[in-house]
């Protein structure tokens, strides 16, 4: 854009000169006409394509095909047909107009070549569609990252003794080339602390340090590496690293920002890292676990990666708009995380720098466009056991009934006969629309049903308008359908999948409007499910205080239901009828105390002309089994039929009641957001200018042509996409992944932009090392732990992080890694460190998110009523930071302040800032103060036991807990002076001593003298705030 302004100026300044030039050239004009393919394209190809072709497109200008060349670049059009004097192409190759001459840094074009271009433009810049222009693109050298890596040979180095791993050869070769030399190895204390923080996010214990110091064996270090890689906290540390890219959060985002349950996905990630799930499998499961043959629950949980997108539940939103937004986010996340591609740049137009066409964006998008979005249950062992118990008890009761009924088979055949039902009498009203209150919007599905999306409310009135030509209509049927997109599978919208109906009303209007509407009178209402307290007649009694409820209780409520309303007399006008239906839901306390938003979920309306219509008394499940020939029914289906049958036998009331009683305890496990294939594929269309309201041409799923081919035989769905991503020919995935791992260790990646390996990224600092690591990663079976092992055992990793002035001068950004970087630890580790040193960190792995103390008033920054925050008082108060409930619109402040990404979009690289607000947090935040208070108690009690009774011994012990090393004399002197001073100050100041030293004023420690603890608290606070404490050296 900057260039645009410059261009305007240049044009004005250069006008006179150009005019003169034009005149002169016009005089020299030759008679022969210019042919693009013969005369012009060779000039472009030889001099322009390298920078203005598919590989680079500098200034967003591409001269390699007609369309882009004519469109121009950042500064607008460069070729104005018929006007060479005004065409920027002419100005630039001449070097006129104050801008640098093109081709940049190369010899200028020959005067006759310029003349050819000029003439070509003046003749109208004819560019036939079929010339080699397009084909030329294919012959250009590809951007390095789009070509598969080849394992390079190890470079030669002068220093033959330093390297411990192949990594070191590459690094050392560069260090030597820069005239530098590597730093000495860091001290053992520093190494162990570095290793512990890097692999587990936790500092080493003093015992671990002492053991390592005492281990003089040559493999002492490697033993520590293996110990830490095997730690269950390794999965937490690297899982959290992955969750940045996965944009994990515990709420839906946008205005309502309601809580969501997707933590089982977070736990799956932790587990996958701990088990060192090969990265190809890890990828496939996250993108398409549900599409694997007979997917396990874990594999389905893994698809939460894609579900981490935000969800707009604000009233009045168009659900399709935000479904599309969610998909755009998914494409972005997949692009950044696995491919290092800014594929999202091709959403509105063809990518400006990388060879990704707009249609290719939508082909990629099409892979992700045909999914259902269930919340699947993760029962857990306890729930599964309890269910098993209930089922077997119930089965025993049923077995007794079966045993005492010798003629059961005949009776059930008779029952089935009795329930015969002709479903063909019903005609779905699919020429219909719906409107609801509170801005609730609906998707209309292929079977004529509606499903609400987005906002929800406790009360509503669904107003359906439908047209039909049928006459003599005798009844309406509403089918409430189960759907995996609804909570617990529906059919309602309450969290348990239930719903209620207050009133159903219908008005009939002649389609030709020849008369006014008439209210339809009903003869009766029937249903396949009815509770005594919520009979179906309530919905046609005109009373807004009586309802029908779908809630059949635990374990049974998530089933399709139906209602039939017989009309008092046949309806239907000549010329067709327009029906105005109302499905009123007027919530009150009788429905279910504490139930939230139990609105109707998916449903559709049908009509019949058969006499005296009634609802099919068989449930949808029963009917499905009835429709299977008796001989083909499975044991389970037979049992299911019996289950339905027994409830109809009056004699068995007592047994039925016993089973009902058992079912009341039917437990539910938590749910997690996952993906499931959709029955019908959605059509994907290109959105013109990226606008979802302007669909263009339809496309089929495919991957960008500039990358490796789609694997032969792979399905054209998410699974195929995942297989393509981890295909051995993919030039990106392995490079991108090892680069992000490298970045975590060294602060900066070998490619500094981990999310963008495209043409605009800086060249890697060590391109050969990147390729070597990528090949190693794939060839060693995509083992992430193996890459860690390689890195942390390298000499480059084990260097000291000290910054000698000379090195600071020679390589201020430490690009050549002649030392280890000093890095302020990540947000979560800041907090985990303090609690760990304080001796109170709860090391439990996994589980639902937790609610540590949050400053007052923070939550009121969120929309609406502040969300409830049940501050943990027990063990969950001091859990690891990664389990803190993460609300997107109100991120937890003490983590946000240390640059934790807020999960709105995929983050491949955290920023490391250093601000006064961080200082205030670690000094004064309640949780950090509690850490200091607990630390002081630990110093005094444990320190005395472990290190000695003297203050000096305790101080050394405390310092070691924070930094892993012993303090030197200067440090000790400062700390001891502070302790002495503070001790004098607290002497006699009991109130101050109590406040400063007690983490919980309700539980003031009694076994210690708080006057003596308080000075230690002040010292502990300083220790926790030391730069070294929060730094990985």
């Amino acid at each position: 854009m900057a260039k645009k302004m410059k261009l305007v100026c240049c044009l004005m300044l250069a006008f006179a000169a150009l005019w003169l030039l034009h005149e002169r050239q016009a005089a020299n004009a030759q008679a022969k006409t210019v042919d693009f393919a013969r005369d012009v394209e060779p000039i472009f190809r030889a001099h322009c394509y390298e920078c203005h072709g598919p590989a680079k497109a500098s200034a967003q200008l591409r001269l390699d095909n007609r369309q882009t060349a004519m469109k121009g670049g950042l500064g607008g059009a460069v070729i104005l047909p018929g006007k060479s004097g005004e065409s920027r192409l002419t100005h630039r190759v001449l070097g006129h107009g104050g801008e640098q001459r093109m081709p940049l840094g190369r010899e200028s074009l020959k005067p006759e070549q310029i003349e050819t271009l000029r003439k070509w433009i003046d003749e109208g810049a004819v560019w036939p569609e079929t010339t080699a222009g397009q084909a030329a693109a294919a012959t250009l050298p590809k951007h390095w990252a789009f070509t598969a890596p080849v394992r390079p040979a190890l470079p030669d180095v002068k220093n033959k003794t330093w390297a411990k791993t192949p990594i070191d050869q590459f690094i050392l070769a560069e260090i030597e080339r820069q005239g530098l030399s590597p730093s000495p190895e860091a001290s053992k204390e520093t190494l162990l602390r570095r290793l512990s923080l890097d692999l587990t996010g936790l500092p080493p214990t003093i015992r671990e340090i002492d053991a390592f110091l005492a281990d003089a064996s040559p493999t002492a270090y490697e033993k520590q590496v293996e110990r830490l890689l095997a730690s269950r906290h390794y999965g937490e540390r690297w899982g959290r690293w992955w969750l940045d890219a996965a944009r994990y959060a515990d709420t839906n985002g946008f205005e309502k920002d309601l809580p969501r349950s997707i933590w089982p996905y977070r736990d799956w990630v932790i587990k996958a890292f701990n088990q060192d799930r090969p990265f190809d499998q890890f990828t496939i499961e996250q993108l398409a676990g549900d599409l694997l043959p007979a997917p396990t629950l874990d594999q389905r949980i893994a698809t939460g990666f894609l579900r981490n997108s935000m969800l707009n539940q604000e009233g009045g939103v168009d659900p399709e708009q935000f479904r599309v937004e969610g998909l755009i986010d998914r494409v972005d996340a997949v692009g950044k995380t696995f491919l290092g591609l800014t594929i999202n740049c091709a959403q509105c137009h063809t990518h400006k720098f990388d060879p990704i066409k707009q249609e290719e964006y939508y082909k990629f998008y099409a892979f992700l466009n045909s999914d259902d979005e269930p919340e699947i249950e993760v029962p857990g062992d306890e729930v599964a056991r309890k269910r098993e118990e209930i089922l077997s008890k119930a089965q025993r009761i049923e077995d007794e009934l079966i045993a005492q009924t010798p003629d059961l088979a005949q009776r059930m055949v008779a029952w089935e006969q009795e329930l015969r039902y002709d479903d063909r009498q019903w005609t779905v009203l699919d020429d219909s629309e719906i409107f609801a209150s509170f801005g609730v919007k609906f998707d209309k599905l292929e079977d004529g049903s509606f499903i609400p999306r987005g906002d929800n409310s406790t009360s509503n009135n669904y107003k359906i308008t439908a047209r039909t030509k049928l006459r003599g209509i005798t009844g309406f049927r509403i089918e409430y359908q189960a759907d995996q997109n609804l909570p617990r599978g529906g059919p309602g919208r309450a969290p348990d999948g239930s719903f209620y109906v207050t009133e159903f009303a219908a008005e009939a209007v002649p389609l030709d409007k020849s008369a006014g509407g008439v209210k339809v009178a009903f003869a009766n209402a029937t249903t396949d499910f009815e509770r005594a307290d919520f009979p179906v007649k309530n919905v046609i009694d005109g009373n807004l205080k009586t309802h029908w409820s779908s809630d059949a209780g635990p374990g049974r409520r998530n089933q399709a239901r139906k209602m039939v309303f017989a009309t008092s007399e046949p309806i239907g006008f000549e010329g067709g009828t327009l029906f105005n239906f109302q499905l009123i839901q007027r919530f009150d306390d009788t429905i279910k105390p504490g139930n939230v938003m139990p609105n109707i979920g998916r449903f559709r309306i049908s009509v019949t002309t058969a006499p005296q219509p009634r609802a099919d008394a068989a449930s949808a499940t029963t009917r499905r089994i009835f429709n299977t020939p008796a001989a083909q029914r499975t044991k389970e289906q037979q049992r299911e039929l019996f289950r339905a049958y027994r409830t109809t036998v009056r004699n068995w009331d007592a047994a039925n009641a016993r089973i009902d009683e058992l079912m009341k305890d039917w437990p539910y496990g938590p749910t997690t957001m996952a993906l499931a294939p959709r029955g019908l594929e959605r059509e994907t269309r290109i959105f013109r200018r990226g606008d979802w309201k302007r669909p263009g041409e339809a496309v089929k799923p495919d991957t960008p042509a500039m990358l490796h081919p789609f694997p032969a035989g792979a399905p054209r769905n998410r699974l195929g996409l995942a297989q393509w991503i981890v295909d051995k020919n993919n030039p990106l995935t392995a490079r991108v992944t090892v680069n992000r791992i490298w970045q975590q260790y060294f602060g900066v990646g070998l490619v500094t932009t981990p999310e963008d390996f495209g043409a605009r990224c800086e060249r890697p600092s060590h391109p050969e090392l990147l390729d070597w690591l990528a090949r190693e990663f794939v060839e060693k079976g995509w083992s992430v732990k193996q890459i860690h092992r390689l890195i942390v055992t390298s000499a480059v990793y084990r260097q000291s992080s000290n910054v000698p002035p000379k090195l600071q001068e020679a390589d201020p950004t430490n690009r050549w890694l002649a030392r280890s970087p000093r890095l302020r630890v990540d947000s979560e580790i800041i907090r985990d460190l303090a609690l760990s040193v304080g001796g109170v960190l709860n090391l439990k792995v996994g589980g639902p998110p937790v609610y540590p103390p949050i400053p007052d008033g923070v939550l009121s920054l969120g929309y609406g009523q502040p969300m409830p925050w049940p501050t943990a008082t027990g063990a969950d108060r001091y859990r690891r930071a990664m389990y803190t409930f993460w609300k997107r619109s109100v991120p937890y402040p003490s983590l946000l302040v240390f640059d934790q990404p807020n999960g709105d979009f995929s983050c491949a690289r955290r920023i490391r800032s250093n601000t006064p607000l961080q200082a205030l947090t670690t000094l004064n935040d309640q949780l950090f103060m509690e850490a200091a208070q607990n630390f002081a108690l630990r110093i005094v009690k444990e320190g005395e036991r472990e290190a000695g009774a003297g203050d000096l011994d305790k101080m050394i012990y405390a310092f070691r807990l924070c930094t892993g090393r012993k303090p030197d004399a200067v440090e000790l002197q400062h700390l001891m002076a502070l302790l002495t001073e503070q001790a004098a100050w607290f002497n006699g100041r009991t109130a101050a001593a109590v406040y400063v030293s007690s983490p919980d004023l309700n539980k003031i420690p009694e076994d210690v003298d708080l006057h003596k603890i308080a000075p230690w608290t002040m010292v502990a606070r300083v220790l926790l705030n030391m730069d070294e404490t929060i730094t990985r050296e």
Binding site: M1, E255, T753, D756, P812, P855, G862, Y863, N914, M1018
Partner: protein, 481 residues
């Protein structure tokens, strides 16, 4: 100080100074490093490296700072600034189809009836600015402001609308205007955050993204002040820790950190030391800032502010105190204007809460000579429909739905031309028919007044130079003084 310590200190000074002459340290600290070094030239070079140091924009700026009064929820322009006799004439009749063809509204059906404002409108000041009687104070400032009746935005839902108004994008993840301005101009205060967010009424729909930094470094993001207790989180020392104890602790901490900097040679430690020193200063300056009892009775009355009470009025007064202390960008959020039902009642009540203070702020800035180089912006995320929102099932009546094709905002000070009303909508207020001002255009114009070519204030991310106005935005010349 003994001989040894003297030597260590000398060495450290040399080391860090060398560093700052040559290389940047990311972080706030370098400014304060200058005072640490007690050396003017070092201070200057440190300032040049500090990302929050005051910076020169592209051209001479008319404005140095911004106070943005964000009326979240979207106030009805038809009941405040955009008088429509057409609505009076056709009150209650369905909207002519050509206006609403193909448009989806958030809550209403497009065939809802037109709804005339229940307020009377009058012209005020020499400029003859038209305002409704709901605004009882703003007429006093009629000649200081420019009303834009022709605003257009892209979103019709609150969260996307607020995000769009604040970041120029409907998609989350872009920097807010406050972050861009702070990134471009740096900060004039070392004791307070450069970009402060104040709020009254409800929490906002856009949440933290309204003042977020997107992909810019996090030090540019807005710092929300709390309404009660410490304005800045963790500002107060823990109970029992006095300011002297804090100082003493920080002295020990500083000594240890300096010592460690000597040992490691890492200049980032200097930045850390300064973060702690700035934090300490902030602990003193923030409470002083918040103490409205320092204001005269007259001033308090002018705003309708009450010391110690959280309110829009207090926030307006605080905004003035913040910019007086060098804060670059102050944004107030008053989330209370989403009047889907009984819009007249809602407007009346929110005007009671805000009108006096808004007016007082403009006049107070003027009388203190601050209005000339301070931009004041008033407005919501979109406008409201000329049609009525009424739905007995939702218990709503006489309200207005969301509308993005035309709405009103006003601006003042900072080089905006005062005393004019620009733009015009059609007879019902559906569409802009004259002088449209898109959100991107407003952003471009604000940046222009702050000294920036909006196409040149960019940040490279994912291989692309991003800017507040995306690939849009036209300077609105008519708004300039």
């Amino acid at each position: 100080m003994n001989y040894n310590e003297e030597l260590i200190r000398e060495q450290r000074t040399l080391l860090t100074r060398r560093h700052f002459f040559r290389e940047c340290g990311v972080g706030l600290g370098s400014i304060a490093l200058a005072s640490l070094l007690n050396n003017d030239s070092a201070a200057q070079s440190a300032r040049a490296d500090n990302p929050l140091a005051p910076k020169k924009p592209h051209h001479a700026a008319r404005a140095k700072r911004v106070i943005y009064l964000f009326q979240a929820g979207a106030p009805s322009q038809l009941d405040l600034f955009d008088y429509k006799p057409g609505l009076v004439k056709y009150n209650g009749q369905p909207v002519p189809q050509e206006f609403v063809k193909g448009i989806n509204y958030a809550f209403i059906k497009p065939d809802a009836g037109l709804y005339a404002s229940e307020f009377k409108f009058r012209r005020h000041g020499q400029s003859g600015a038209e305002m409704s009687e709901a605004l009882q104070h703003l007429p006093k400032a009629a000649d200081e402001i420019t009303i834009i009746r022709s605003m257009i935005t892209e979103a019709i839902n609150h969260a996307p609308g607020q995000i769009f108004m604040n970041t120029g994008s409907i998609q989350f993840g872009r920097p807010s205007i406050g972050a861009w301005v702070t990134y471009g101009l740096g900060s004039e205060t070392q004791d307070l955050p450069a970009f402060v967010v104040l709020s009254s009424a409800g929490g906002t729909s856009g949440g933290a993204s309204n003042w977020g930094c997107g992909f810019l470094p996090s030090l540019y993001q807005g710092v929300p002040f709390r309404r009660t207790g410490d304005p800045i989180l963790s500002l107060s020392n823990p109970r029992g820790v006095t300011r002297e104890m804090q100082r003493r602790s920080l002295d020990a901490l500083k000594a240890i950190n300096e010592h460690h900097m000597d040992a490691t040679g890492d200049p980032e430690i200097a930045t850390r030391i300064n973060s702690f020193e700035m934090a300490y200063r902030m602990q003193a300056s923030a409470p002083e800032l918040m103490d409205l009892t320092k204001e005269s009775r007259e001033t308090l009355d002018m705003y309708g502010a009450t010391p110690g009470k959280a309110s829009y009025a207090n926030n307006c007064l605080l905004a003035r105190r913040l910019i007086e202390r060098g804060v670059r960008f102050v944004q107030l959020f008053h989330e209370a204007w989403d009047h889907h039902s009984e819009v007249a009642k809602g407007i009346r009540s929110q005007c009671r809460n805000t009108d006096q203070a808004t007016t007082a702020l403009i006049l107070d800035l003027k009388q203190r000579g601050l209005l000339d180089d301070t931009i004041v912006v008033w407005g919501g995320e979109f406008g409201r429909t000329p049609m009525v929102e009424s739905d007995p099932d939702a218990n709503r009546s006489l309200g207005r739905d969301h509308h993005n094709k035309a709405f009103s905002m006003f601006v003042a000070g900072g080089g905006f031309k005062p005393g004019q009303t620009i733009g015009e909508t059609d007879e019902f207020g559906f569409n802009v028919v004259r002088e449209p001002v898109h959100v991107h255009d407003l952003h471009a114009t604000m940046l222009h007044l702050l000294g920036f070519d909006h196409t040149k204030l960019t940040y490279r991310f994912q291989g692309r130079d991003f800017r507040l106005t995306d690939v849009h935005g036209t300077l609105v010349e008519k708004l300039l003084a």
